[in-house]
């Protein structure tokens, strides 16, 4: 069975009260630790409804400076594949948005300001090869379709193949970006969701769920299945 290492699920939460500040969210994956936030000013807020979602499906509202962190980072092994699936709604990309981040070498995956590209910085202090790359998604230079992120339900599936290649898929399972660099398969120490661990570069939008699979590189047809999972919740 393919069990995720990290499984953060807000969409199926029917226990948390509306407008409750989220100080802790347990992972339902093999890593059962919780993502936490002790500073009240950086705590996201749970919502039991959203105008863009069907009734009873939950979400967690981040205001661009909120973030939730693991106490001990989850290590995604070097030269081994990993897959990250993250879903959100009401995204505002006025600034760069780091969706998944580390506190080591500022490694992160994210959305470029403007919503027309994805970001990736591997865990390396080297420059320029270890610098952040911006891969445009609004053309087909490195993809099969041109795509821009908006405020509707979005799903980004990130496949780090572990052989220097990284692929990005959208909610429809379309390949929207690819990139390759000798340092892309570095160990990624996953620390935070929806922003840099200090809350900067935060998601301005509502998080629906996050899955992180170790030792897994999913194919396009599976990316389509994950997109479909969240697509059906759209109102």
């Amino acid at each position: 069975m393919a069990r995720p290492t990290i499984n953060i699920n807000f969409i199926d939460d029917r226990s948390t009260s509306n407008d409750a500040a989220v100080s802790s969210k347990a992972s339902l994956g093999s890593n059962t630790n919780s993502f936490t936030q002790s500073s009240s000013g950086k705590q996201p807020v749970f919502k039991t409804s959203n105008a863009k979602l069907k009734p009873t499906f939950g979400s967690c509202l981040f205001d661009g400076s909120d973030v939730i962190n693991l106490a001990s980072a989850q290590s995604l092994t070097a030269q081994s594949p990993h897959t990250i699936i993250i879903a959100w709604v009401d995204g505002d990309y006025t600034s760069d948005t780091w969706l998944i981040a580390s506190d080591t070498n500022d490694a992160h995956y994210g959305i470029d300001a403007g919503g027309n590209g994805v970001l990736f910085k591997p865990s390396s202090s080297r420059s320029p090869s270890g610098d952040e790359v911006t891969i445009p998604t609004n053309n087909t230079d490195n993809s099969t379709v041109s795509y821009s992120f908006g405020s509707d339900v979005e799903v980004l599936t990130i496949v780090n193949v572990g052989d220097d290649n990284v692929r990005f898929y959208n909610i429809d399972g379309d390949l929207i970006a690819t990139a390759s660099n000798a340092l892309f398969d570095s160990t990624f120490l996953l620390k935070s969701i929806a922003g840099k661990p200090d809350g900067s570069f935060g998601l301005n939008g509502s998080l629906l769920g996050v899955y992180v699979f170790e030792s897994r590189s999913i194919a396009e047809n599976k990316a389509k299945r994950y997109g479909a999972l969240f697509k059906q919740f759209k109102d």
């Binding site: 069975m1 393919a2 069990r3 995720p4 499984n7 699920n9 969409i11 199926d12 939460d13 029917r14 226990s15 339902l28 994956g29 069907k54 009734p55 009873t56 499906f57 899955y211 999913i218 194919a219 047809n221 599976k222 389509k224 299945r225 994950y226 479909a228 999972l229 059906q232 919740f233």
Partner: protein, 170 residues
């Protein structure tokens, strides 16, 4: 399925049994062994005939049955690997025309039990009269078909998943 006339015509003349209509279906759940299937009704006429205004959150709809077929799909979503059909009970979510399906049979189920991995979610590892395990693949993709029935009403048309979706192992 036809039964006693239960249309909204009270003139005394026989009327057609009211046809149930499902407008939407979602398949949720945080794991690939326990799914939450929700169905929505199309309009107020459906709701009035079912009587949603008198329902409380978690109430089971008396004598309603959702005949639910769950199919485990292959990776290309071109064929069933396994499928099973079960008669599920229908519970009011408390919101609008949304109902949850469950293999539970309590007269009322707390809303929270329909949450991630909740006790009221449907066990796909033992589904249908033959207790079929529909979760045998690495990443299980499903399609679902639901027909809503009740004696005295006309069965709904089947509502079917437009494409396979994946449920994630916890």
């Amino acid at each position: 399925m036809l039964g006693l006339g239960l249309g909204s015509d009270h003139s005394g003349a026989p009327s057609e049994p009211f046809k149930l209509i499902i407008s939407d279906m979602t398949i949720g759940g945080s794991d690939d062994e326990h799914a939450l299937i929700g169905i929505s009704l199309i309009d107020s006429a459906n709701q009035n005939n079912i009587g949603t205004s008198s329902l409380s959150v978690g109430d089971r709809l008396t004598d309603f049955v959702a005949v639910t077929t769950v199919a485990q799909r292959n990776s290309d979503d071109t064929a069933d690997l396994a499928s099973a059909t079960e008669n599920l009970n229908v519970y009011y979510s408390g919101i609008g025309s949304l109902f949850y399906l469950s293999d539970d049979d309590a007269t009322n189920i707390a809303f929270s039990n329909f949450g991630a991995g909740g006790s009221a979610t449907i066990d796909l590892s033992s589904y249908g009269p033959s207790n079929t395990d529909l979760t045998t693949e690495t990443d299980t993709d499903f399609r679902v078909s639901v027909v809503l029935t009740k004696s005295g009403f006309t069965d709904s048309d089947p509502i079917v998943s437009p494409e396979a979706i994946v449920l994630v192992e916890p």
